[in-house]
């Protein structure tokens, strides 16, 4: 204002100045007293996540999946400490014991009574007291402890891979879509090439060179795994960045970083969660698959995949080793898939079929 007046000297000051009066309440009066409650929102506003959660709760499959995942994670953390056996404690005198569980041993059809497939009570023959809930393996290690220890490692690899996929994918996808133009072009060409690469083959090649281990398996999965996330985020950001709220935020002075991290990515949270939910079972499967073809973790570390693989060798005589690990790995996969499906419906009710 001051500069304006200096520049255009002919303007009279009092012609444009706003009266110095303070705006106090007594200057206003309510026009129609009767309508004063009309605009009050009677219910607490529902957030996007809260709304989705409400829809998710109605989906029986998803809730079963969620509960199973929580139980499995709990057992993976606490299971190995529930009995006194160590996961690498070998004792050949008690090898290949069938499962035996207190109380449940009296229920005949469950097969948890310590008898092998010929109906012989191995616990009595080998003179073992105590219970091995899931039996023991060919080196006399407690299968219960090993299975949960393995589940923990499998879940650890899967969560780590999903997290890294998420970080790389979200960053790459949002940068590519947000800046657009030449940057987008180059970044999309790179993705186009990577999409054509068969993931599993690259993972196998990398593991051959890197030697199997928790870190190398995770990295090998991430090297090709982030592409999917990046594409989904790019699509989302492309859709969002033309919308008015982004323009409004930019007009108010928000920078690129703020726009991406505070507006575009939080608004893509639905697809991000869904994609992550499907990345986890894929990673668990891939890790188990690698163990199966002989590129898995090396003893004494064991994952679910290596335990399944060990079980195969003795499937004909001692099927219990394969059964428990197979059931648990299948349960994990089923629960994550159910939850993922439920989340997809919950986040995007329009897509629901």
């Amino acid at each position: 204002m001051e500069s304006l007046i200096q520049e255009f000297g002919f303007l009279e000051v009092d012609e444009i100045s706003i009266p110095e009066q303070k705006l106090t309440d007594d200057l206003f009066e309510v026009e129609r007293q009767l309508d004063k409650d009309v605009e009050v929102i009677s219910q607490k506003p529902v957030s996007y996540l809260g709304d989705s959660w409400k829809r998710l709760k109605k989906n029986r499959g998803a809730i079963i999946g969620l509960v199973l995942i929580i139980i499995i994670i709990f057992l993976a953390l606490a299971g190995p400490y529930m009995n006194s056996h160590e996961f690498d404690e070998q004792n050949l005198k008690i090898s290949n014991l069938p499962p035996k569980v207190p109380a449940l041993e009296h229920v005949p059809f469950l097969g948890l009574d310590g008898k092998d497939i010929e109906g012989q009570d191995t616990y009595a023959v080998k003179n073992v007291d105590g219970y091995y809930w899931f039996g023991t393996d060919n080196l006399g290690r407690d299968v219960w402890t090993r299975v949960w220890e393995g589940t923990r490692i499998s879940l650890y690899i899967a969560f780590l891979a999903a997290l890294l996929d998420l970080l790389i994918g979200v960053t790459y996808g949002s940068i590519s879509a947000y800046y657009g133009g030449k940057i987008d072009n180059v970044m999309q060409r790179i993705i186009e090439v990577l999409i054509g690469v068969p993931n599993l083959i690259v993972i196998i090649l990398l593991i051959l060179v890197l030697q199997p281990g928790i870190v190398s398996i995770t990295l090998a999965m991430v090297i090709t795994g982030w592409v999917n996330m990046a594409r989904i985020i790019r699509g989302q950001v492309l859709k969002l960045k033309g919308q008015e709220f982004v323009l409004a935020s930019r007009t108010l002075g928000a920078g690129d970083t703020r726009l991406i991290w505070r507006h575009l990515i939080p608004n893509s949270i639905g697809p991000i969660i869904i994609t992550t939910m499907f990345t986890i079972p894929t990673a668990i499967f891939t890790e188990a698959f690698l163990s199966f073809i002989g590129l898995g973790l090396q003893p004494p570390i064991a994952s679910l995949g290596t335990i399944v693989n060990d079980g195969f060798e003795l499937i004909q005589i001692y099927p219990h080793m394969l059964m428990f690990s197979s059931i648990i790995i299948s349960l994990i996969m089923i629960s994550f898939n159910l939850l993922g499906d439920g989340l997809r419906d919950a986040f995007d009710p329009k897509m629901r079929k």
């Binding site: 999309q188 068969p198 079972p281 199966f292 073809i293 004909q316 394969l322 996969m333 089923i334 898939n337």
Partner: protein
């Protein structure tokens, strides 16, 4: 259309070269040489290296290798003395192809039926059952499923042979193991596509005209719902390829997948590299064909700048 095909072809070649280079340089980083034997004198080692071109600079070896790959020359196996990788692939691909084709056929038919039933009987007991089967098929890892089948049907019930490849009945269990995933995927897609199609106006029109209910489903519903299924046949073929790795191993089927896994176990690097390249080429080719096919079947999809969304 031509421009689109050409650009996809360009990507295909580039991707393949990338994979070929990756395999070459990854194998270069492996320690040791095939002739690291103390019994060999220095002169003998030199002769061997010369014979296999290992004395040349890496760049030279690389270009020679690329040239060989382009003419289908994939080197000689370490494990099977003097046999070329190309011959080994040639001998084994037939069995895998039969197995894959059977699994794909079975999966497509069963999955399609399951999906159609689920959509037509939407939100009924049959729908839920079909979808539970589909979730199980998607979730249970193929090696677990194969192992269970082998144990129950082969060992306990003794209905079908447990392993090997000596006739049609030997292929049943491996086929079912592989088909489960295909069936589950197709069933889910088919169901959602059918539901989509059955909600369209032209279906209501057909009903209003008094066309028989099943005729509407057959002629209007299924036909239109099948178009998008083409897009997932590509990824499914790929999953079948990786599926054969474990399923052939479990059932001792003498296919390419079993060879690949055994080569990994015996560190037979030329075979690993050769089969890797072969699988990659198949993978790339399948995706390419599917993209083009989809463009022809459904002209609405964007043809320029990447057909797949």
């Amino acid at each position: 259309m031509t421009r689109y095909i050409l650009s996809r072809l360009g990507y295909m070649i580039f991707t393949f070269l990338l994979i070929a280079s990756l395999t070459f340089f990854l194998m270069q980083t492996l320690p040791g040489s095939p002739f690291n034997d103390e019994r060999l004198s220095e002169a003998q080692e030199k002769i061997l290296n010369q014979r296999y071109g290992l004395d040349e600079p890496v760049a030279m070896q690389y270009f020679k290798y690329l040239g060989n790959v382009l003419v289908g020359e994939l080197g000689v196996s370490f494990q099977f003395d003097g046999r070329s990788v190309t011959t080994i692939i040639g001998e084994r691909i037939g069995v895998s192809a039969i197995l894959g084709a059977q699994a794909m056929g079975l999966g497509l038919v069963l999955g399609g039926l399951l999906g159609i039933i689920a959509a037509v009987r939407h939100n009924t007991f049959m729908d839920y059952t079909a979808m539970i089967i589909a979730v199980l098929g998607l979730s249970i890892p193929n090696f677990v499923f194969a192992g269970l089948l082998q144990y129950w049907v082969g060992v306990r019930l003794q209905w079908l042979p447990v392993a090997f490849w000596q006739g049609f009945e030997y292929s049943i269990l491996p086929t079912i193991s592989l088909a489960a995933f295909v069936m589950a995927t197709i069933a889910r897609y088919m169901r959602s596509e059918m539901l989509d199609v059955l909600g369209q106006d032209y279906i209501t029109t057909a009903h209003a005209k008094g066309v028989d209910r099943w005729k509407v489903i057959r002629k209007h519903g299924i036909r239109n719902a099948m178009i998008p299924i083409i897009t997932i046949v590509g990824p499914l073929t790929v999953s079948l390829m990786t599926g054969t790795l474990v399923v052939e191993q479990i059932f001792s089927v003498p296919g390419l997948g079993e060879q690949f896994v055994n080569s990994i176990l015996t560190n037979d690097y030329p075979v690993i590299m050769g089969v890797t390249l072969f699988f990659s080429l198949l993978f790339i080719a399948v995706i390419f064909v599917v993209d083009i096919l989809y463009g022809i079947v459904d002209p609405r999809i964007r043809l320029s700048g990447g057909g797949r969304n």
